[in-house]
Amino acid sequence: MTTTRDENLSLERETLYMEWRQDREEAAPRSLKYWISEYPSFAEDFLTWASELPLMTTTLYRIDTTAEEDRLGKVGRSVVAEMRARYGMARPALTSLTEAARERNLRLRDVAERVGIGVPIVSKLEQRLLKFATLPETLIQRLAETLDLGLDAVRDYLRQPPTLAAGAAYQYTGKAAPSVTDQQDFAEAIRSCPGMSDADKQVWLANLNA
């Protein structure tokens, strides 16, 4: 019973706040005294709201709040991620570039063309055969844009340890167990990539040196 009364009071207060805020945007808003005389039981609330309003609405800020925004950003992102997981709204982790491309009706060749690299490099990225630290940011950005994924999702995927190529287990017929190749530098992969023009290679290499 008490809870219901409290809830009603809270709703009434919220409704009143919205009305008051709306009125404050009018050319000739009603005075604070008017609101207090109309709703005396909310007098204290009106005083608080009036005191806070200039902080919320001023556009004249010259004081830098970047550091505060950064701190709040970390908190905000973490809360949203937690809430997304709780309400089943989380984005599934990226498990395969090929799969992500397929979901977007793209072939690996399409991805390679859009990113501006050779198909063998896309395959190496798929298997994480390129050292993450050597990958240029431009490459990650283009991959994310092409596959319509978040930068963090792509980075998290490429940071993982290398994996076997799809189907490696089926192709294996020898005696030695299949193993992944050592990771390669991006620049090295570009230089040795068949099917990429020298001009395209130079663009990437120049990008790395910039």
Partner: protein, 256 residues
């Protein structure tokens, strides 16, 4: 980064915009126009529009329209996309909240972060709510946010008050001073001065700010303030003086 996996105009519950259930609330015509346009546009275009950050840009998507799509997507099972939009809304809230919270000078950094934590949690729940009381987020996003922010800040302010030790010279009761020589008379501030002072209000304590605003912005007399705030006339004068001193110091720093 905002990611939209499917076309926003792909199968939705209805071809028309979901109406608000409360007869008293109406979306702004400009918001309705945006929603209609976004429902028709391609996935790529939708995403491009979300990337526009300048609110003065013609293609900027208003927060109210974003809330509409959060609910549209969430209701039609496209929860991941709804979550992406909430991420964007959180990002847009940050600057305003950071600026506002710096005005709650008694809150520690940890308390401000806790405030933001609570605020975003509450906003998240409200954004995916189907209750009539939460519809207003689609009508006046910033008012709703301010309302929630005000509530959580007050909660933490109450906690902080119990921990707060007033600095020397700010303990207000019982001090004597020449009030009128320090504080401007009601109406004494020009609109420009008021705008400038508005920026500085964050350095005041909540009590100082309340008294200052009632006196300079609402044109109340000190007696009226004392009566409503339930303190003595002397306390009102002291708070005004403290506020004025702090603001004078702020102005001096600003002019350096």
């Amino acid at each position: 980064m905002i990611q939209m996996q499917t076309n926003p105009s792909e199968p939705s519950a209805s071809d028309s915009i979901r109406p608000l259930t409360s007869g008293k609330r109406y979306r702004e015509p400009s918001v309705v126009k945006q929603i209609e346009a976004l429902r028709r546009c391609s996935r790529v275009e939708f995403r491009r529009r979300l990337e526009i950050r300048e609110h003065t840009h013609a293609g900027f998507v208003s927060e109210e329209a974003l809330v509409y799509f959060v609910r549209e997507f969430h209701l039609s099972g496209r929860s991941v996309e709804a979550g992406d939009l909430i991420e964007l809304l959180e990002e847009r809230c940050r600057k305003r909240v950071a600026r506002t919270l710096t005005g709650w000078s008694q809150l520690s950094q940890t308390q401000r972060e806790d405030c933001y934590n609570d605020l975003i949690s509450q906003m998240f729940v409200a954004l995916i709510s189907t209750e009539t009381k939460d519809e207003f987020w689609e009508v006046r996003f910033w008012h709703c946010l301010d309302w929630k922010l005000s509530n959580v800040a007050q909660k933490y302010h109450s906690i902080a008050q119990n921990e707060f030790v007033p600095e020397n010279g700010v303990n207000e009761e019982g001090r004597s001073f020449d009030f009128m020589s320090n504080v401007a008379a009601p109406g004494g501030l020009s609109p420009e001065q008021r705008a400038l002072v508005q920026e500085a209000l964050r350095i005041l304590t909540v009590d100082q700010r309340t008294v200052f605003i009632l006196f300079h912005y609402e044109q109340w007399t000190q007696e009226e303030i004392a009566q409503h705030v339930k303190v003595t006339d002397r306390t009102v004068r002291n708070r005004l003086e403290s506020a004025e001193k702090r603001l004078a110091s702020w102005r001096a720093d600003e002019l350096q």
